[in-house]
């Protein structure tokens, strides 16, 4: 390296900075740009090819409708209740499911963090992720369907007189999303919960805080930012529900989610421009919820969750 090492004692006060300054390479490195930065390139290319390009393509396509002006796709979406209601239908599924999953995941995570055989339980809980939505939906049809064991058992026990309508309905999709979404929500929550220094809880206990107060004053404030992230990621998954909405839902009415509307436009009406517009609206609504949740994080503490600096 040809870097000129310059003692500050030797630099005359009036001298110009560039005469004694470090080389361009050093200055770039100081800003975090060096050879290693180039390793980002392949990833960036993949991102451009697989995400940015299709996104922009769809974005532009959505402004080139089959007929009408530039915004006619969007105008049509927001004037047709059959279309714009899908936003509400999807939110009505995704938000309660995500919230319920979080509410279930927190107590389970609090229990699991104390367990010695965490890994076994975690493995069992991960299984639904690996199974995929379709298999889960199929299992639900067999189990919860009108002729499934669940309804038949209830009827045999004379608890109900007619089969419960647990599939091909809102409840069906709700349950399927709960099953497939829970492990993901749980694992994220568990990592946030176990990330909190256990001595904080002990300190709170010695200071007189019972379990409820410890949760409220110590755990919850430290968990909230992580829970907000978990909510966002789980919500995005639930919001783009498609297979279960069709398989165990009522895709014509109660569970006509926004992705079904997009599918319908693309592959039944062959109106790719309209489908792109719906996809854009889907993305925008999703983004809106995520931004709202993340923005709320600024009301919480967001620093390290360990007691001390290592």
């Amino acid at each position: 390296m040809t870097a000129r090492t310059q003692s500050p004692l030797l630099a005359a006060p009036g001298r110009r900075a560039e005469e004694v300054g470090p080389s361009i390479k050093q200055r770039l490195a100081a800003r975090g740009l060096d050879g290693v930065t180039l390793l980002v390139l392949p990833g960036a290319l993949v991102l451009v090819a697989l995400f940015l390009y299709p996104f922009l393509y769809g974005f532009i396509l959505s402004f080139e409708p089959k007929e009408g002006g530039m915004f006619s796709n969007y105008a049509r979406f927001f004037s047709d209740s059959y279309l714009y209601n899908t936003i509400w239908t999807t939110l009505r599924l995704a938000i309660p499911v995500t919230l319920l999953n979080l509410l279930l995941a927190i107590p389970v995570a609090f229990r699991v963090r104390l367990m010695r055989h965490q890994r076994l339980l975690t493995t069992i809980l991960i299984l639904p992720i690996t199974l995929g939505t379709v298999l889960v939906a199929e299992g639900m049809l067999f189990y919860f369907g009108a002729q499934g064991w669940f309804s038949r058992s209830l009827m045999a026990l004379h608890i109900t007189s007619a089969p419960l309508k647990l599939t091909n309905s809102y409840v069906g999709v709700f349950l399927s999303l709960l099953i497939t979404g829970f492990p993901f929500t749980f694992l994220l929550t568990l990592s946030y919960v176990t990330g909190i220094d256990p001595s904080l809880e002990q300190a709170a206990a010695t200071l007189g805080a019972g379990p409820r107060a410890r949760f409220r004053h110590v755990f919850l404030p430290l968990l909230l930012p992580g829970l907000a992230i978990t909510f966002c990621l789980s919500f995005v998954q639930a919001y783009s529900v498609f297979p279960s909405a069709v398989l165990v839902g009522e895709p014509a009415r109660a569970t006509r989610v926004i992705s079904i509307a997009a599918y319908h436009a693309a592959f039944e009406e062959y109106d790719y421009s309209m489908a792109s517009a719906i996809a854009m609206i889907m993305g925008a609504t999703q983004l809106l919820v995520v931004v709202l949740v993340l923005a709320s994080r600024r009301f919480f503490y967001r620093g390290p969750v360990a007691g001390a600096k290592g």
């Binding site: 206990a205 007189g208 390290p304």
Partner: protein, 357 residues
């Protein structure tokens, strides 16, 4: 009125046991602590001292025995119902609360009215000299400041007992000395009772009124720092008290409570007999008490292996007749490789029973 420690007469540990599966971390601890005492639990890591502290705090349930605060049995209480102040090695400050709110936490849990709580918190922060940092978050403080917040948080609830788990081990040497003085000053000023866990005998000697030396889940000796320093009851306690030379040998002579040990052929040392022995013993001598002998005196021959100049004296390491390491001090410069004869005043050397291996 100023912050004051709650009053009691005596804290009593009665055959306290703690098992982890097959591991007996505490094997029946008996200990009585009077109000106002500063007790150090001293021992190597794994000796059960932290387990004992956690059992006292209620963070670990005991698996046998009982703990009493006067007539009140406390080992069955939850930690939040015991009301002891605890200072953790990792500080365990709530990172999302300011210094003031951290310190006020215990008072908030007790439902102390805001105005009074604020007054007491101010007083506690003044005591640890952190008024200026009151509105900062723990992450903005140095390690020493964080530990002082932890101390303020523990004392503000006026606990009958303050438990400290190696509170200074994460601090640098200079800060440790400062904080040590602070901890003792606060203890004296509040009239509190403190149980302080440490593996540093210097810390224990300088802080405590009484030291409890532990080993493998049992108490080996309880005594004042002076007692422990001058007359450790067992070899392992002596080890902790700086008796670095521990030489096994055969007892060849006895006169009153002084015994003569033959360490090797022609190598003899005599010392105070501290334990009954069966003819075999170990003599323990501090390096500063083992010094070069005048010609002809009894002692242990050796060859100088290393010498360091330490200002007032030279610290040396010699190798004894059968390869023993002998740490000694001397006032005269000695060449490496030179033969020496080392001896100790018999009142400064202690003879213990040979430990069952």
């Amino acid at each position: 009125m100023a912050i004051q420690a709650a009053r009691f007469q005596e804290l009593r540990l009665d055959k306290v046991r703690r098992d982890f599966g097959h591991l007996n971390a505490l094997k029946g601890l008996d200990l009585r602590i009077r109000q106002g005492e500063f007790i150090a639990l001293l021992g190597p890591s794994g000796c059960g001292k932290s387990t004992a502290l956690n059992c006292l705090a209620g963070l670990l349930p005991v698996t046998g025995g009982s703990i009493w605060l006067d007539d009140r049995r406390i080992d069955t209480l939850r930690p939040e119902d015991r009301g002891f102040g605890m200072v953790f090695q990792s500080y365990a400050l709530f990172p999302h609360m300011t210094v003031r709110r951290n310190a006020a936490f215990g008072l908030m849990m007790r439902g102390v009215p805001k105005a009074e709580a604020a007054k007491r918190v101010d007083e506690a922060l003044a005591m640890v000299r952190l008024q200026a940092q009151a509105d900062k978050l723990p992450g903005q403080l140095s390690g020493g400041q964080q530990q002082r917040v932890a101390i303020a948080r523990a004392i503000v609830i006026e606990p009958p007992l303050i438990l400290m788990d190696e509170p200074l081990s994460n601090l640098d040497a200079k800060l440790r000395l400062e904080m040590r003085a602070d901890i003792r000053r606060i203890h004296d000023r509040l009239g509190s009772t403190t149980i302080y866990v440490t593996h540093d005998q210097e810390e224990a000697l300088s802080l405590a009124d009484r030291i409890v030396v532990m080993r493998e889940g049992t108490i080996r000796q309880v005594g004042t720092p002076e007692e422990l320093y001058a007359r450790p009851a067992h070899l392992d306690v002596a080890d902790f008290m700086g008796y670095r030379n521990r030489l096994p040998g055969r007892i060849v002579g006895r006169e009153g409570n002084t015994a003569m040990l033959e360490i090797a052929e022609g190598a003899r040392l005599s010392g105070l007999l501290c334990e009954e022995t069966n003819g075999q013993g170990v003599i323990a001598v501090r390096p500063e008490d083992l010094t070069t002998a005048h010609d002809g005196a009894a002692g242990v021959p050796g060859t100088v292996h290393a010498v360091e100049y330490r200002g007032r004296s030279f610290h040396g390491l010699a190798i004894g007749p059968t390869g023993q390491e002998l740490f000694f001090h001397t006032e005269n410069r000695i060449e490496i490789g030179a033969p020496v004869r080392l001896t100790a005043d018999s009142s400064r050397a202690l003879v213990f029973a040979k430990e069952a291996a």
